[in-house]
């Protein structure tokens, strides 16, 4: 992730079935360092998870720089598959921003 620091990329979490009050504690415990939506819901599902038809965690989406869903994994993809997918899209975004007038 370090290598992505200066590139057009963001990792956003959605904490599912948690309780926003202790989210920071949970994130410390789970070693989650990235910005995360608190999706409250005592019954195991908050409004975000419900809208996104979440069935299990982890579920991952990759959006391109225009906000279009380019990959979706109901489960953990292999590290290689994920890295390759991100690298391709980040390069695409970098190429686009170079083309755009400054």
């Amino acid at each position: 992730m370090q290598t992505l620091k200066d590139r057009p990329f963001a990792l956003i979490g959605v904490n599912v079935g948690g309780n926003a009050k202790n989210l920071k504690d949970v994130m410390t415990k789970e070693d989650v360092t990235w910005r995360t939506f608190a999706d409250m819901g005592d019954a195991g599902q908050g409004a975000i998870a419900a809208r996104w038809n979440l069935t299990s965690t982890p579920t991952l989406y990759v959006l391109d720089a225009r906000g279009v869903i380019r990959h979706k994994w109901l489960g953990a993809p292999g590290a290689e598959a994920l890295d390759a997918a991100l690298e391709t899209l980040i390069r695409e975004a970098e190429a686009d921003s170079e083309k755009a007038p400054k």
Binding site: I12, P58, I69, G78
Partner: protein, 304 residues
């Protein structure tokens, strides 16, 4: 980034149906008694294995992840090992009401995410079980929950079975459930295939569990067409069963189908993601669309 890969899997183990007493021991056991005995045997085998697994855990302690995973594997394994006996019972008494219960029980354990075959064992009874379900029970009014259950799975037998129920079952509520289940199954299977395509290890696990040939056929399938059929099935479910058919959980077909349709139309690859607005861990409001211009990886995670 490791956290993403070590994520937990939510898996509902449903053992609650399985408390049964063995009947009287005089004379030959009736089919119902034999069924109860088999179910009881499954339960006690699982209980014993679970007790063994928890032995090393102090009271009130938490089971480490890998041990918990092994426990889930154990649940599958003991079910898979019992399944042929249940199928045998259903084959001996095809007209007894217990036959359908036995077949349902035999295929109830749906391997939603591929636990490796070395861990969970094979599921040798599945093809025969679905052969009997289609031959002897396709018109049953009790097939709804089974349709729903298998829609989360991947097995090759599920699709022809759901199509058969949708076409041949005389009960409207069952057809409605088969229609929803088939839509869900087709969409879900495509998504699971994405995991397979990206990861050789998972490809191996899927092939071991569900057959190389089946996987190869799916690799070649027309993804766009599958998505279109799933959408058409949901539209059909809304039109034919929408407001007036209530499902066992009290929801109408429309209430079930609408979020699924939303998913196909807005949460599929190629669609613009819906915006998310909410609070972060510090209580600061923000939006997903704040990150437009960047590639965004969204990680839905939960506490282990």
């Amino acid at each position: 980034m490791r956290r993403v890969f070590a994520g937990p899997v939510i898996l509902a183990l449903s053992w609650s149906l399985l408390s049964a007493e063995v009947g009287g021991q005089d004379g030959p056991a009736t089919p119902a008694e034999q069924y109860k005995a088999l179910v009881k045997e499954s339960q006690s085998r699982y209980d014993a294995a679970q007790k063994e697994a928890f032995k090393s855990v102090p009271k009130g302690g938490v089971l480490p992840d890998d041990e918990r995973t092994a426990l889930v594997g154990l649940a599958y394994r003991s079910k898979y090992e019992q399944a042929p006996k249940l199928v045998g019972l259903a084959e001996r008494y095809p007209r007894d009401p217990v036959a359908l219960d036995a077949l349902t029980e035999a295929v109830w354990q749906v391997n939603t995410t591929p636990y490796p075959v070395e861990m969970v064992g094979r599921d040798p009874a599945r093809p025969k079980a679905f052969e009997l379900l289609r031959r002897d029970h396709i018109g049953s009014e009790k097939l709804g929950p089974l349709c729903e259950r298998i829609s989360y799975g991947f097995g090759a037998e599920y699709e022809p079975f759901l199509r058969d129920v949708l076409e041949k079952n005389p009960h409207k509520e069952v057809r409605a459930q088969a229609c929803l289940a088939l839509a869900h199954f087709l969409g879900n299977r495509s998504l699971k295939l994405d995991l397979v395509l990206g990861d050789p290890k998972q490809a191996r696990e899927f092939a071991d569990l569900y057959g190389e040939e089946y996987l190869e056929r799916l690799r070649r399938q027309d993804r766009v067409k599958a998505a279109e059929e799933a959408e058409a099935l949901l539209v059909r479910a809304m039109r034919d069963y929408g407001g007036d058919v209530k499902l066992p959980d009290g929801e109408t077909v429309a209430e079930k189908a609408e979020p699924e349709l939303f998913g196909l139309r807005h949460l599929a690859v190629g669609k613009t993601a819906p915006d998310i607005e909410g609070q972060d861990q510090d209580g600061v409001r923000f939006k997903l669309s704040d990150y437009r211009g960047k590639v965004v990886l969204i990680d839905f995670w939960s506490e282990v």
